[in-house]
Amino acid sequence: MKAIQAISCFVVRRSRRLVGLIVVAISHLCHGHEGPPFPVVIDQSFGEQAISVWADPDIGEATFYVSLNDADGRRPRIPPRLRLWVQPKSGRLLPVLCEAQVLPSRDSLQFVFQTTFDQRDYWVVRIFQELPSAPDARPIEWSFEVESTPPGYDAWDLLIYLFPFAFFGIMWIVTFLRRAQRFQT
């Protein structure tokens, strides 16, 4: 117990630095997207349709969900051809063009694109729409940027994730024992 107390006291003495570290760790976690797909745009006008895009840009397998509705909110009767174009913003890799897996749901047309992000970077994403009625016309284009986010955790990531718990646990132990000691004396 004394050893724990000694370590804990050391930790408390360094608490300012540790708070800084926690802030960095939390900002790192917030910065890095580990969660569900997030909306990039909702019901944006895209040609004759409204487009909604969700991104799940994990390093490794990145996924983009695109849903299209007609202006009246219904599923487009004739599915357009959608393609996704990605390239690092820096231009360090050649662009990649992906075809979609089409998932017609009840009231919209959903396209799922899967591509590979090799590392943490900013990526330019463009969506091209070709209308079946005018295949020779210039495709409608819409673009945005996303940052690819780290894949799952390794041992270090695990430590980073558990760090806030460990920090508060140690703070709790130290403060609790100090107060108990003061009370007893």
Binding site: E34, P36, S105, G169, W172, F176
Partner: protein
């Protein structure tokens, strides 16, 4: 209750209060809510939105789709409500009881039918709540409430009916203090919260003669007074019988702030506390008595901890294998007797064996003259933090993995109710955090629960005897390790969202 009576330091009858901190922060003042929290509208403003949400849930339970993931009653009750309650308890305090919609309905009902009776003395303890808490856990498994919108709706309606029936019959906050299983869960958990309702300056209370915080404030008696009818109560005091100057910790406190509103000296706030510290103190306190002597409180603590383990255990594969094995072995083909057996083992026999063994070792090591049940009673409080950690891990799993599902379900409910997607098309791709991330959070919560329990064991042991603290505490630390490992094993299993295997 002091343990072996070995140490002169051990206080027995007088309350051993928590050391006064030099600087206790006051949440009401920090948030600038000190004045508004004394207003009558404050609590109603918190309750009204929750009442509206409850009504929507009930409506969707009875009229909406009978598929749990698409129904607001099941989703909000078993995913969001439970998750938000435990997180609020962890980071703030008993906020759900503060904003309880059931109490709002009760207050309205009481205006039509004021209560006349007093709750029977024989029931003025936690035993009814222990029984009901266990019943809710049992019903949850038996009726697959997590996958049963109608059942969930019935449960919510029953809750409203129960509080109205109890509280228009019996005076004061009888339902909250003696009946409500959710309230008991919140009371125990809020002992781990960082905030408590407490007096700002004890000296002010020492000079107070009117005690509005517990008696309430009444209209002035007209002069000359001719009748002896009770005067109208303008502001009720603590209906749970907690006299603030002698209140210690959050046990039985609903954070209603009636005491703060009644106090003419503006001397009650929501002050910071050391989480779990009040679990280590002994002696008589207002509204509770001496917790270390109360077997009903000990039973509630044991149920709280082992119920958490059983509830989480019921979500993983081995429980189905176990149930199937028992069913085959006993040639039973209905579920309730098997579930009863499981609960009997999980909530009675296993805790009795574990706690009995631990207390026996403690007794043997310290040569204590006390009866085993007294030792168990004294240390049962140490199970609360570990139990809370397990509830946090379990409810946190559902909450964090499904946090965003409320968006498409609400979108779908609005679309089907009004025939137009006013909130947009249901975005069914929205889910929550990945399981691998949530698993780490679960480990963190379990770790904090374990630390809390060890601190409580340390506190209880050192109160009894400085010299024998290590010997007395050792078996209880070992018990906490065992509980931690069990919970860790459960959380490490692939979670299976399973219904019952036999049905009914």
């Amino acid at each position: 209750m002091t343990l072996p009576g070995i140490d002169a330091h051990s206080p027995s009858s007088s309350q051993q209060s928590v050391p006064a901190s030099k600087q206790r922060r006051d949440a009401l003042r920090i948030l600038g809510l000190s004045r508004i929290s004394r207003s009558r509208c404050f609590r109603t403003a918190l309750q009204a939105p929750l009442l509206l949400v409850s009504l929507l849930m009930v409506a969707h339970a009875f009229g909406g789709p009978q598929w749990a993931p698409k129904n607001l009653a099941t989703l909000l009750t078993w995913v969001h409500f439970r998750g938000l309650v435990v997180l609020a308890l962890l980071f703030a305090g008993n906020l759900f009881c503060m904003a309880c919609p059931f109490v709002l309905v009760r207050d309205l009902a009481r205006r039509l039918h004021p209560p006349r009776w007093k709750w029977p003395k024989v029931l003025r303890n936690k035993w009814p709540a222990v029984f009901l808490f266990a019943t809710v856990l049992f019903s949850y498994e038996l009726f697959d409430l997590w996958s049963n919108p109608l059942g969930t709706g019935v449960l919510i309606v029953l809750y409203f009916v129960a509080i109205v029936v109890v509280d228009i019959s019996f005076e004061r906050a009888t339902f909250c203090k003696y009946v409500c299983p959710v309230g008991q869960f919140n009371f125990l958990s809020s002992l781990l919260s960082p905030w408590e309702v407490a007096v700002r300056d004890p000296d002010t209370c020492a000079n107070c003669r009117t005690k509005e915080c517990i008696l309430g404030t009444t209209a002035p008696r007209p002069e000359p007074s001719v009748d002896f009818q009770p005067l109208p109560i303008l502001q009720r005091g603590c209906e749970l019988g907690l006299y603030l100057p002698r209140k210690s910790g959050n046990m039985d406190c609903t954070f209603c702030l009636d005491c703060a509103a009644a106090c003419p000296h503006d001397n009650i706030g929501i002050l910071s506390q050391m989480p779990a510290e009040h679990l280590t103190t002994s002696g008589v306190r207002s509204g509770i008595g001496a917790p270390e002597r109360r077997r009903d409180l000990a039973a509630l603590s044991v149920l709280f901890c082992f119920g958490a383990i059983l509830n989480a255990f019921a979500m993983i594969q081995p429980v189905y294998a176990l149930e199937s094995y028992v069913a085959t072995w006993l040639h039973w083909n209905v579920e309730w007797p098997i579930l009863t057996l499981l609960f009997l083992f999980g909530l009675v026999i296993i805790p009795a064996v574990m706690l009995g063994t631990t207390a026996s070792v403690c007794k043997a090591l310290t040569h204590s003259p006390l009866h085993l049940s007294d030792i168990v009673c004294s240390y049962a409080r140490s199970l609360v933090p570990m139990g809370f950690g397990i509830w946090l891990a379990h409810y946190g799993f559902h909450f964090f993995t499904g946090i965003l599902t409320v968006i498409p379900v609400t979108q779908a409910a609005v679309a089907s109710t009004f025939g137009a997607a006013y909130l947009g098309r249901p975005a069914w791709q929205l889910g929550g955090l990945p399981e691998r991330v949530v698993y780490v959070l679960e480990l963190g919560f379990l770790g904090l629960g374990f630390i809390g329990s060890c601190l409580v064991v340390h506190g209880i042991s050192h109160q009894v005897s400085q010299q024998l603290a290590a010997k007395m505490g050792a078996p209880w630390y070992a018990l906490q390790v065992l509980l931690l490992l069990s919970a860790w094993w459960i959380m490490s299993q692939p979670m299976e969202m399973r219904g019952t295997f036999l049905g009914g």
